[in-house]
Amino acid sequence: MKPDLAVVLETTSQSLLLELGPRFGEPYGAATLGIQALLLQAVREELERAAARRVEENRALRRLFAGAGAAVADPELRARLEAAAQGEDASLLVSELEAGNRTLRALLVELHAHVETREGEAARRVEAGIWRELADSTERRRLSIAPF
């Protein structure tokens, strides 16, 4: 699809910000246009990586769950982790990857809360893996407009 989506979004954003915004007489309209331009820049950044980061994260979460069994005392939770670990992304549509990601991240919250209450080396290893994944997950989501 040409011109590239990124080029169209970047160009539109720059036009709103630098050409149309300053001509807008009324301050609220001008400020709103500026925010919309920044939103388009964020969309451009996210569009490029949207599928890749979700596929990467879903794989990372499944790997984490696959290795978590020894640290989980609750058989019902262990069974759900095992089932999730064996799953895979059937589609590369962002909406479907996102739905899968939500399910996996909800399970991650449960696993994290569970291993925090457990003693032993296996629990500490899984917990450390969760923290690494949480740090990685924020890195995957970083936008250049963010202050930190």
């Binding site: 939103l39 994290h112 923290w131 740090a135 936008l143 930190f148």
Partner: protein
């Protein structure tokens, strides 16, 4: 579409309402009504009020703050108005509060009117550019000094206890944590594993009791005060979340990484963190206990994320499609997670 246009519809309603507030005045009119950006929690309009009284023509520049259909922060505008009234005329600069209208009928939303402090700037994007940039240190010092002055004030003497719920020093943290956790529970559209971990830590490691229960502005940050061209802070704005509680909540919120607009590690983009804290300690007469401050800083991440996820929900569900709702959660949501990870010692 009257709400967003602000044209004759709102001008007429405002004029009619102002006549009831100025019964002795004649020829009351509203001129130059225009909407300005004043955050997503209230619509903000500025205008000129003209009237005749005792044979003379008067004009005042005013600001109307009106509830939108859905807000980034759900609060009681009477409390915000009360906070302006409590601090007006004290050492804490605020615009003069004039009239409150709690009934949404007359103006299309509950509202209040303040004086407009003219010739000033609040937007961080403009404060970190000339002519304000050269005054960055001055602004920062005054910013943290004013915060200390807010915290030195006695909320009972200001008449704020009553309208604002009283809280015991040892209970302030629990009330606030429960409040923001509930909002996160209700409004998050996706799992929040970092914030859930932060919440578990906060519940398991309660902070010491507040040294003093004081007025908490609750959104005291760069962007919520007006600065003139000489770097003087002329008005502290956006008191909509003000409450009585632990002053460390405010200090921690102001130090939150998401307000480091200049990305150089300066607190609020203005001052080195130790200097900001020392100024606040001097002005407030309180101590920034390291353990307690750490707890409140992590709490401020939860509070921030609760606000960003609420904004995301409002935008997603269509109850407020102001682009600032989407922008705030995109720009700050992930930074807030990173800030929490840093405080927990887990940011790689």
């Amino acid at each position: 579409m009257e709400r967003s246009e602000g044209g004759p519809g709102l001008a007429d309603r405002l004029t009619a309402w102002l006549r009831t507030r100025l019964p002795e005045a004649r020829d009351v009119s509203v001129v130059d009504l225009e909407r300005i950006h004043g955050g997503a929690s209230r619509e903000t309009w500025r205008f000129g009020l003209r009237f005749r009284r005792e044979g003379a023509t008067h004009e005042r520049r005013l600001v109307l703050r009106r509830d939108p259909p859905a807000s980034l922060i759900e609060t009681d505008r009477a409390l915000e108005f009360g906070a302006y009234r409590a601090f007006h005329g004290t050492g804490v600069p605020v615009p003069e509060p004039l009239w409150l209208e709690p009934d949404p009928g007359p103006l299309g939303g509950a509202a209040f009117v303040l004086e407009e402090i003219q010739g000033c700037e609040a937007s961080p994007a403009r404060l970190f550019a000339p002519p304000y940039l050269e005054h960055r240190t001055k602004i920062g010092r005054r910013k943290w000094e004013i915060l200390g002055e807010i915290h030195r004030a006695d909320p009972k003497a200001l008449g704020l206890v009553g309208p604002m719920e009283e809280v015991a020093p040892e209970a302030a943290w629990r009330r606030e944590l429960r409040h923001w956790e509930t909002i996160l529970d209700e409004d998050a559209l996706e799992p929040q594993p970092v914030m859930r971990a932060a919440l578990r830590w906060l519940w398991c490691h309660p902070p010491p009791p507040a040294q003093r229960v004081g007025v908490v502005h609750a959104d005291y940050r760069t962007g919520n005060f007006l600065v003139d061209g000489s770097g003087e802070i002329r008005g502290v704005l956006d008191w909509e979340m003000a409450h009585v509680g632990d002053p460390l909540e405010d200090l921690a919120w102001g130090l939150n990484r998401v307000w480091c607009w200049t990305r150089d590690g300066l607190a609020g983009g203005l001052l080195p963190r130790p200097e900001a804290i020392a100024i606040w300690e001097g002005a407030s007469g309180l101590r920034a206990d390291a353990v307690a401050l750490h707890w409140w800083e992590l709490f401020s991440c939860v509070k921030g994320q609760a606000i960003w996820v609420s904004a995301a929900r409002e935008y997603q569900e269509g109850s407020n499609r102001d682009p600032v709702m989407a922008f705030s959660c995109w720009m700050l949501g992930n930074s807030q997670d990173r800030a929490a990870l840093e405080l927990l010692g887990k940011l790689s």
